[in-house]
Symmetry: C2
DNA sequence: ATAATAGATGACCTTTACGTAATATTTTTA
DNA sequence: TAAAAATATTACGTAAAGGTCATCTATTAT
């Protein structure tokens, strides 16, 4: 435990905080999404505020359905051009836009399919009603 | 080749028509989504109009992001209660609704994230502008 | 000091939705 | 009818995103 202000945090605590497993965090480092963090003397990983933010960002993107591979693309564009926020942002926007497009498309399809099915069910319902009452 | 009207079709042609592979069709049969179709003398599968419609339906659901497992759930509810359209339809609607809900959520998140990022980029842009012109 | 945790590493396992041979028949075309 | 193309079956391979040991070392609690 650190004596000073809780600047850095260990992997177990971090995982617990974010509701994921340590394996996941190490995996993200393994595939280069997290970049090597600092270690304690014995080799124990420590995560500072920036590391935590980065991980949170990854989780946020993941939640939105962006694959780890796509994030690596982002990271690539980010790493090659270190300080170019002007470069990573458009790339991110591009990926996001692509996703939004796909999702909008899906929504439209879903809405349409749902309508079809509701109509279908109504027709069947009507037919069954007609059969049992035999009015017309 | 059949002498009568092109009632049934073989797997290769069907795959070509739908832009998928024969493997995919056989796989759907393998996991029970397609149910065994009729065969020619030698064992060659043939697909009639209903089979084709069923496959198209599967592809449509898949396109909407519904997993094959979820479709199996649907099929289960369908098979247990053979003629109960009244049973399968609500189940399908339920699955669709769940999907729509998730997708709506994602859209909202994406929209929000995109806004954040656009704003972020604007701020950076402004700062860079401010630095170079040094007006105020 | 010593047991009990927590963390590190390495390696094999899992699921989904097929891809890709390999081999044997069948069907179609020449 | 012989050669070519399509099918069937079996079975192993693949990518994604971690899960699950097993073994070791480091840290923490008693």
């Amino acid at each position: 435990m650190q004596t000073e202000a809780g600047k850095s945090i260990q992997i177990g605590q971090l995982a617990k905080n974010l509701g994921i497993t340590t394996r996941t965090i190490r995996y993200y480092e393994e595939i280069g999404l997290m970049g090597p963090t600092e270690r304690l003397g014995g080799g124990t990983r420590t995560y500072n505020r920036d590391d935590v933010l980065r991980l949170k960002f990854i989780l946020k993107l993941k939640e939105l359905g962006i694959s780890l591979k796509e994030m690596q693309e982002l990271a690539k564009n980010f790493d090659i051009n270190e300080q170019s926020f002007g470069t990573i942002t458009p790339k991110l926007l591009e990926i996001l836009d692509t996703h939004i497009g796909k999702i909008d498309q899906k929504i439209a399809n879903l809405a349409s399919l749902r309508k079809e099915i509701v109509d279908y069910r109504l027709r069947i319902f009507d037919i069954l009603q007609g059969e049992s009452s035999e009015v017309s």
